[in-house]
Every structure is written in C-alpha cells, then in structure tokens.
Amino acid sequence: MKSYFSIVFLIVVLLTAGFAHGQESASTTTPRDVSVSQQVAPSPETGVDPTAIDQSQASPHDTVETINEEYKEDEILEEYVAGNLKEEKVEIADPLEPVNRVVHGFNDKLYFWALKPVAQGYKTVLPEPARLSVKNFFSNLAFPARFLSCLLQADFSGAAMETGRFAINTLWGIGGLLDPSSGKELNLQKQDTDLGQTLGVWGVGQGFYIVWPFFGPSSARDTATLVGDYFLYPVSYINPWYDWLAVRTYEEVNATSLRIGDYEALKDAAIDPYVAFRDAYAQYRYKKIKARKAKGSSSAPVTRQEQPAAPVPEREN
C-alpha cells in the first residue's frame, strides 16, 4: 500500500513539474546547455546559425518601409555572419592519435549500439518536460563544482549567483527539478564553468588531446580536473558502486535523449569525424575559457565592435 501511494505521489509531482516546463516552452526561452556540435558547427548547408535565419524570416514585409527595414536587418545579419565565419582557429596537439582513434571508434559504437537506442526508447516513454526536469535536477546537484570554479576564478558575482540559484531551485524548484532562477523575474543564469576552465583562465594550456572511453573528448588539462569534478559531484558519493553506476547511466541516458541528432549531424557533415570532433572540442573549450576570461577582466559584456576585425589563428598548447 505504501509503495502504491509513493508511486502515485511521484507521478503527480513529475506531472506537476511537467506543467511548469510546458509553460516555459510556450512563453519564454529556457536557457539550455548547448552541446559541442551546436556551439561550433554552423548549419552544414548555409554556414549560418539557424536561429539567426529564423529571426530574419520573422521580419514583417507588408509595406515598403518594412521591406527596407528588413534589408537593413539582413545587412546587419550578413555582417554578423561574416564576422562569425572569421572564427579563430584553435588547434590541439594530438600525439596519442592512433589510440584516440580506437577509443573514438569504441565510443562511436557505444553511442549507436547502446546509448542511442536506450535513449530513444526512454524518449518515447517520458515526455520532454519531465526529461528537462531530470536534467535540471542533476544540473542543480552539480552546483559545488560551478561554485568553487567561480571562486577560484575570482568571479564572486558568479559564485553568489550560483549560490542563489542553488538555494532557490532547491527550495522552490522542488529539489532542483524546476529552474525558477532562470525566469525573467529572478534572472539568475547558470554559470557554465568547471575546474578545467578554471585552469584555463589561470593560463594553463590545454596540452594534448585525449579521448576517454565512455567520457569522450578531453585534454590533458581537462583530464586533470576530472578527479576534482568527481569529488565535487554529490552523485559520486552514492553507495554501493552499482547504485552510483545506475544513477550516472540514467543521467547520461536522460541527457542523450535531449540531444539525439546533434552527434549524428556533426559526424555526417565531417569528412573525418575524428578530426572534426577534435577540432570542435578544442574550439569549444577555447571559446568557453575566453568568455570566462572576458567576464573576469570586465563586468561589461564584450560587444561585437570590440572584437578584432581579423582574428589571428592561434594554437593553444
């Protein structure tokens, strides 16, 4: 009888949480983690950010004035896109390439043969709002690493924001299932940082490229912080080990269910997927660290005019 009531109650809570996400998706844009491919890979056909295209298409064109206005917007868009295309090229040393390629192949098979089918089945069973709630829950649990990273980067406003987010999302977000902090009124955005970025901000180069089984692309620098991130993640303390493994697997399946197609898109667009993922990873991490450095040096946001007109290719070692 107890288990029956418990299950009914859990279902009601999840459904209620689902209502909240339904509301958000209908009226507001919820910040989400952007995957590697989304960050670094423009649309294969046009090379333009798909969201930018949507915005240009949404312009009204009933009158001449609005058409002119639309062209003006297009000019700005072209300028913006051109600027984006002149991205800084970041390379990473790869002395372990033969081994990395083997591990990359293993991870690829793992994704297509195990993770993706399970995630697709899971996606069929559980609606997206509920899966977003699960993702929010685990993201909320990862607060200690983000908080410490902000402190170590002397980003005290970020640390305070993370603390506020954690308190509010835990108390009023049903243990972190919901994310009221990201709403318009509170506007406490997640500080997307980690210990690897902290080392990068301190000036530590990324070292060489390494692909870990199960974990995927990494670098020598980011690998060194895996241990720190492990100990700062509360899920790591779940005992016995098979419970921990089950929770981590579930977390990964849930996360994968929310980004099915991203990996395939980048892989299909690449001549050599291994090289594509290596470059994408290096560039993605470089951009993150650059953004953190910019935040640390000035509280004002970096504007387009402040960026160099012709970025110089850089090799980070």
């Binding site: 009888m1 107890k2 009531f5 418990s6 109650f9 009601v12 809570v13 209620t16 949480a17 209502f19 909240a20 509301q23 958000e24 509010i168 108390l171 009023w172 977000g173 049903i174 243990g175 919901l178 009221p180 709403g183 009124e185 509170l186």
Partner: protein, 251 residues
C-alpha cells in the same frame, strides 16, 4: 498503565498550511511552488489527555488557472512527540520514558481548491486535501511490570487524513489576502504495540485509532513579497493552536 492509552482517540492530523483559498498561479494557468513549516499541536483524549506536537516541513507544487482553481501536491517530513503517553499511574509499573518521540518521517499531500469571487474584494472558496505518511512513527519503551522487564515498540502506521474546508477571503488594497473559515477533518492510523514476548499481554496488539473531534477553524494572511515571492502566515485551531508559515513562488 501503558496499554490502557492505546484505546485513545486520535485527533487532528492536518499536514501543512491550508493556504489562501484563491490560487496564486497566473490567470492563464501556471505553476506555483512553496516551502512551508507548521508547528502542530493537538490532544489525544481517552479519560486522560495527551498532548501531541509535530514539526512539519514541506515542499509544495501547485498548478492553478483562471484565479479560481488549483491542484497541489506536497512532500514533507514531520516528527512527532506525544507527551506522557508512556507514563504509568500504576506504582507496580515503571517505564523508561514518559513521552513517545519519533524522528522525521516522510508524508505526502494531494489537494484541490476552488474559488468563487463575489466582487473585487471578497470571495468564497473551498478546499479538499488528503495526507498520507509513507513511514511509520515508532518509539521504544522499557516497561517493568511486577519486576519483569519488557522492551516494547509502539508504532503509528499508515497515518492518513482528509480535510475539507470552506472560507471567506478578502483582498486588501496592498495586495494582501486575508482568509478564514471552518474545516472538517477525518484522521486514522493503525497503532501497534509489539514486544515479541508471546504469551504475555505485551506480545502484540493492534488498534485502529480515529479522530474524535471533526471540526476546527483556520485563519491566515498572504502577503506579497518581491520578485514573485509571497509569504503565507496561518493559524489553525482544533483543541489546541497550530501555526505556520510558507513562502511561495509564482512561475
């Protein structure tokens, strides 16, 4: 005598605040969540009176729309203390402690509200909620009767209740809502005493206890804070006074 108190009637087990009668969710439909605390006091009676104390902490998620209806779910923890329930008036019986004390146990509540605005200021509403405790409250007591020591465990199992209330709500110009009204409730639990000493009167006994008093009253205020947060203060009276506070956030 310890066993004599087991035939007592259990009184109110309302879990958490009842809250304002009108939903605080957005008119087009939306979620609101809350955390709350209730200090709950009541009495057991069966010849003798026993005072029950509970501290309840809970988290609530609610969905409402059109300013007239809301459904909500709560999950929380509560402890329990019953003063003097193990005390014995028999000189030949000694107990190791007088009070029943149990640690934090989980409970869940499901409820619904409906509201009818009479005019811009006043409205009437009703709510119905049910609570179930997922875990049992239990405590041990050592009884020495006629020189024979017996260690006995007392358990409150499957504690559940249902509450129905109606009330009047007034909206003040500053956005504060005041509300008050009567409520009816029914509470029931399975009470057991177990010592493992078969063949004795302490071996194993089971009872179903129910509340005797069926009515109470509540009153409260809901005050807007900042950035979508609201403070809810409420008092409930049924034999003894209970009071609590909750802070809600409207999405």
């Amino acid at each position: 005598m310890v066993l004599s108190v087991l035939a007592i009637s259990l009184r109110a087990e309302a879990s958490g605040l009842f809250g304002p009668l009108q939903t605080v969710s957005r008119e087009q439909g939306g979620l609101n969540t809350a955390i709350g605390y209730l200090y709950h006091e009541d009495t057991y009676k069966n010849g003798e009176s026993y005072k029950i104390k509970q501290n309840e902490i809970y988290s609530q998620a609610a969905y409402g729309a059109k300013n007239i209806w809301e459904v909500y779910a709560r999950i929380g923890v509560s402890n329990m203390k019953i003063a003097g329930i193990f005390a014995s008036s028999d000189h030949f019986v000694e107990t190791s402690q007088d009070d029943f004390e149990a640690d934090w146990k989980f409970f869940g509540t499901l409820g619904a509200k409906a509201f009818y605005p009479i005019n811009e200021m006043f409205g009437v509403g009703a709510f119905l909620q049910g609570t179930y405790y997922f875990s049992d409250f239990s405590d041990h007591v050592a009884i020495t009767s006629g020189g024979v020591p017996v260690r006995t465990e007392m358990k409150f199992e499957n504690l559940r209740d249902a509450v129905f209330g109606v009330g009047l709500q007034a909206k003040l110009p500053c956005g504060t809502n005041l509300y008050a009204g009567p409520y009816l409730y029914y509470s029931e639990a399975d009470l057991s005493l177990f010592s493992g000493l078969y063949g004795t009167e302490y071996a194993e006994k089971h009872y179903t206890v129910k509340n005797k008093s069926l009515a109470g009253g509540f009153a409260g205020a809901e005050i807007p804070l900042i950035k979508g947060f609201r403070l809810n203060l409420e008092g409930q009276f049924a034999d003894r006074f209970s009071a609590g506070a909750a802070i809600s956030y409207t999405y």
